[in-house]
Amino acid sequence: MDDPFIIAGQELGSRLILGTGGAPSPQVLDEAVVASGTAMCTVAMRRVDPGTSGSVLDVLVARGVRVLPNTAGCRTAREALLTARLGREALETPWVKLEVVADDETLLPDPVELLDATESLVGDGFTVLVYTNDDPILARRLQQAGCAAVMPLGAPIGSGLGILNPHNIELIVAEATVPVVLDAGIGTASDAALAMELGCDAVLLASAVTRAQEPALMAAAMADAVRAGRMAHRAGRIPRREHAKASSPTRGMAAL
């Protein structure tokens, strides 16, 4: 029914991409992954801890979802390039979620380093899904640099504030030449539905599910919300009207 969701020539079976950060346990993560019906999950690259056994990969591989390494924590294009290469080596995938943030308080992208990093990673053969702010011009520049998907934030990471500036998201969607994925800020299902109604191709979220009181149930909610928002976008909503319009006939009233 829906048209396929394709990034860099690869079709993904779901328009909901799940970040794995924040899940209280692998068991809870597994339940959330299943309930979300997602086809791709992000992971971070960190130092091996000899103590630990088992890994997030066990869950994701067992569920057959694509693994997308990110560059979370990187502050410069250089760090991001090295981290991306390690992720590619470790997970045997040229895909990367590029994050280059300016500081740990806002976790907002640094536009200059982000653009540099995108150019470097594209040049190094990566398929770059880039986490960016909601500036339509930076989004344009990132696409000119060759990113495979542009992923604007709705609000700061983990804030749950939803989509603070829908107008910018609409501007980004209007001229996008690659898929637009709303990334960061989603707090609840209606936020995810709105993102899709604005014309986004997919939604990426982590905390909204992994830190909800019932992660699996929220994951199922997000799956339905993304589907709902996508269908509503395609169905062509009624226009907003300042005044009421009757939904029952005004003729044929009985004389009572």
């Binding site: 970040g19 794995t20 950060g21 924040g22 899940a23 993560l29 992000t42 992971v43 971070a44 690259m45 960190r46 130092r47 091996v48 000899p50 630990t52 056994s53 088992g54 890994s55 997030v56 990969l57 693994v67 390494p69 990110n70 979370a72 090295l82 290469r85 390690l86 992720g87 080596e89 470790a90 997970l91 979620k97 994050e99 990471i157 982590a206």
Partner: protein
Amino acid sequence: MTLTINGERVDLPDGSTLAELVTSWAPAVRGVAAAVDGAVVPRGTWTQVALCEGQQVELLTAVQGG
């Protein structure tokens, strides 16, 4: 010889290879990547990479994230 592995100073027998280090250090080799002195070392070459005194080795793996 002494190297720095993931930020810790570690003593290794001379002539140790990166492959040996990874095997001893990581619970499972799957999903692990290695960098020596800031350069990524392809998995296929680990057995031929002899480690040297004072090198900085980073062994990374995938964890829950973003």
